[in-house]
């Protein structure tokens, strides 16, 4: 199989690292070679963060480069806009419809762009949801990232059961149920 490329972008502290653990787990259990690359350190303090996931028969480089992503998962609108050039022409874009102002916007040095999703879609399929609101409905605002993962999972070739199984193996025991519920909420949206 040709190598598939997934990218997760967001704001440091949004929990991209957990999402990538789950992705790594499912690819391994399905028998693929997989590499993931993530950002730790300074940028995790509210900076722009990127995670790359690549899987296939044999994966060499661990990063996804411009024009290569099959799926781009954005945990925040502005971050979707920042990295959309990484998406293939026919790639799938999943966006958490949330706004987090970066410091230049907070201080008034820059403006938060309007109509981001329309601007960047360029004829591509875009799936977006206010996952944080949905997560609050489910009773835990933190699981919004798993809702978004559920939305993205529809565009990958694994069964719902495989996903739920990997989630159970990856997240802390106490949070299995809420995370699985969150996943299903995204998957069935």
């Amino acid at each position: 199989m040709e190598t598939k490329n997934i990218m997760i972008v967001g704001v440091g502290g949004q929990g991209t690292l957990l999402t990538s653990r789950i992705l790594g787990g499912i690819m391994l259990s399905a028998g693929y070679d997989v590499k993931l690359s993530e950002v730790h350190g300074m940028a995790q303090r509210g900076g722009s963060v990127v995670t790359f996931v690549r899987y296939g028969d044999k994966v060499y480089e661990p990063i996804v480069e411009e024009g290569q992503a099959d799926v781009l998962i954005a945990f925040e609108r502005l971050e979707a806009m920042r990295y959309v050039q990484f998406l293939k022409k026919d790639g799938v874009l999943i966006v958490n419809d949330q706004r987090i102002d970066p410091m230049p916007v907070i201080t008034g040095a820059a403006e938060y762009p309007s109509n981001i999703i329309e601007t960047i879609s360029d004829g591509r399929a875009v799936y977006s949801m206010d996952a944080k609101a949905k997560a609050l409905e489910l009773g835990n605002s933190k699981v919004f990232n798993i809702i978004i993962l559920g939305m993205a999972a529809k565009h990958m070739n694994f069964s719902k059961e495989q996903w739920l199984d990997v989630i159970a193996k990856t997240v802390p025991e106490k949070t299995i149920e809420i995370n699985q519920k969150a996943f299903i909420a995204g998957y069935e949206s």
Binding site: L28, E65, P102
Partner: protein, 578 residues
């Protein structure tokens, strides 16, 4: 054997475990921190956070001298701190194998410079091994221990951010049962005085020559002969980019990059028409190849700056430019978290119009807008001593509107010496220790003042007040980091004094585990005069609405109350969290 997906750093820890390591010492530093955090999970290995890299290195040296395998991990700049023991231990050599894992940061994701560890290793005459993915990270660590004992040398395993923080599939193996080597007193080898060191210097030169000659038989160096029109000599993560772009090219993949395998390189160069050296940062392999009189192309084409990629290789060697339309969007630099005590301290310093000699940690972000308090930041521990230098150069009036700011972990790392020096040499500066009870920047590691070891056991916690007093500081004050009035008052008083002062600004890091935030702040639009004062400290939980009023994101707010203290119109209220 079990296969799992592992972070590069996790794989290094696993490799050390499987290699039979018994002692590991480190000081945190991105991108090396997770090695210790994973290794400590194995009960067979003693693991500690030491106060700095020099101490950690010496702990590992002591362990090696007694005949057990030991590990020491750090980021690239940590090696500068540890280089004093390293240079001499290179002469001494090992009893039990000793490996240093040093993590470079091409692209400067989370560091203060982009230095190449391999250059330091060459100067110290220490062999260097470079893995290129998680599986190799584990395998090469084990190989490094065998080579360390075989050639009587410490070995550096050099990683980079991309390797350390990438995950890949790793096959697990059992832990080797390594017997402790007997300890024997050996002055000629273990005591570095001139006569002994002269003899050992001869040994060290020979050791590297022997390794270069033997290296073609080492499994960590691999020849992949294909099409001979172009050949690459490469190592580490750069190898992956070569394979991605030129799957048909011939490749000499080096695991040992200092020294390089003499004969292997000559044979390879003779077989290919055009030879490229592809390595991130400095031309370490390239200069060795060129010194052998072999023609090759390296840094003439490939930059010494930043991280490499497959697209970069495509652009330089194939003239293929990938350029998709992109948007010009506002930057998102890292920021202090909502509820971070540092923000409050900087707000007070800013009110007092003070300059700060800065240091390394989360609090370095105090240099950026909207706080903009920090003027300088060099390396860990430097804030106090640079402030001292300013005073000695320009007199005490020059620093009357200055303070030094330093984190608790950084203070214990190397700030201590500088403070002692200030008192000893009759300075008058003021030092603010930003004590958030943890090593924050690198993701929450304990240190000598937190009362907990790396293993999580309770231990003695250094009392910073008594420590500063013991160094001779007469004026030591402790203030809550969130009390704006008290902060401004105390700092103003201390800066005015003609003596060394320490102000310990104390409040736990907002991300510290187990913290409960009972309160949150809410904006009261009917009272809001839209003056924007609450926005000045730059808390990300606050947003300015279109009409100029403010809203506070309840899920982000940690209820620190700084914005409430900024508001003169009682338009922000503190309420109990539901």
């Amino acid at each position: 054997m079990e296969k799992i997906v592992m972070l590069g750093n996790e794989a290094i820890a696993r490799g050390a475990y499987e290699a039979g390591v018994k002692v590991s010492a480190a000081y945190p530093g991105t991108p090396s921190t997770e090695i210790s955090e994973n290794l400590v999970k194995y009960d067979e290995v003693y693991c500690e956070w030491s106060p700095n890299e020099k101490v950690a290195c010496e702990v590992a040296i002591g362990a090696s001298m007694t005949g057990v395998r030991s590990l020491c991990c750090m980021k690239h700049v940590g090696l500068n701190v540890a280089s004093d023991p390293l240079y001499s231990f290179s002469y001494i050599g090992v009893n039990g194998g000793m490996v240093l894992v040093v993590a470079d940061d091409p692209g400067i994701y989370s560091s203060q410079n982009e230095q190449d560890t391999r250059m330091v290793a060459r100067a110290a005459m220490v062999p260097v091994i470079e893995p290129s993915d998680s599986q190799e990270a584990k395998d090469f660590i084990k190989e490094a221990f065998d080579l360390s004992e075989k050639y009587d040398t410490p070995i550096i395993v050099r990683t980079t951010t991309r390797l350390a923080h990438s995950q890949g599939i790793v096959t697990l193996e059992e832990r080797k049962n390594i017997e402790d080597k007997p300890y024997e007193k050996n002055i000629a080898k273990n005591v570095m005085m001139p006569a002994q060191a002269k003899a050992r210097h001869i040994f060290v030169e020979k050791r590297l020559k022997d390794m270069a000659a033997d290296a073609e038989f080492m499994s960590i160096n691999r020849l992949e002969m294909n099409d001979t029109k172009i050949g690459f000599i490469t190592s580490g993560i750069a190898y992956q980019y070569v394979k991605e772009v030129f799957p048909k090219a011939s490749v000499l993949k080096l695991g040992l990059v200092n020294p390089i395998p003499d004969k292997m390189v000559r044979d390879f160069a003779a077989k290919v028409d055009k030879l490229y050296i592809f390595e991130e940062l400095e031309p370490v392999i390239e200069l060795q190849v060129k010194a052998m009189g072999i023609e090759c192309i390296g840094k003439e084409l490939f930059t010494v700056q930043g991280e490499y990629s497959a697209n970069m290789l495509r652009r330089v060697l194939k003239n293929e430019e990938v350029k998709n339309p992109s948007f010009d969007v506002p930057q998102r630099p890292p920021i202090l978290c909502p509820g971070c005590p540092h923000r409050s301290v900087y707000t007070a310093l800013k009110k007092l119009k003070l300059h700060a000699a800065g240091d390394i940690g989360c609090y370095t972000l105090g240099a950026l807008a909207p706080l903009g308090v920090i003027d300088t930041a060099v390396c860990m521990g430097s804030s106090i001593s640079t402030l001292h230098g300013m005073e000695k150069a320009r007199g005490k009036e020059f620093i009357k509107d200055w303070v030094a700011v330093i984190g608790d972990s950084t203070f214990l790392h190397t700030g201590l010496n500088s403070l002692m020096n200030m008192v000893y040499n009759k300075a008058t500066g003021t030092v603010c220790i930003l004590d958030n009870s943890i090593t924050g920047m690198t993701g929450h590691q304990d240190h000598a003042a937190t009362g907990k070891t790396l293993k999580g056991d309770a231990t003695y916690a250094v009392d910073l007040v008594e420590l500063c007093k013991a160094l001779g500081v007469e004026n030591v004050r402790v203030v809550s980091s969130f009390d704006q009035d008290e902060l401004t008052k105390v700092i103003k008083e201390e800066v005015a004094k003609d003596a060394v002062s320490v102000v310990i600004c104390k409040a736990p890091c907002a991300l510290l585990k187990g913290q409960i935030f009972p309160n949150k702040c809410v904006a009261l639009p009917e009272k809001c005069k839209k003056c924007g004062a609450c926005l000045k400290p730059g808390c990300p939980a606050l947003t300015k609405n279109a009409d100029g009023s403010v809203s506070i994101d309840a899920t982000m707010c940690n209820g620190c109350g700084l914005c409430k203290q900024m508001c003169k119109f009682d338009a922000i209220d503190m309420v109990k969290r539901a």
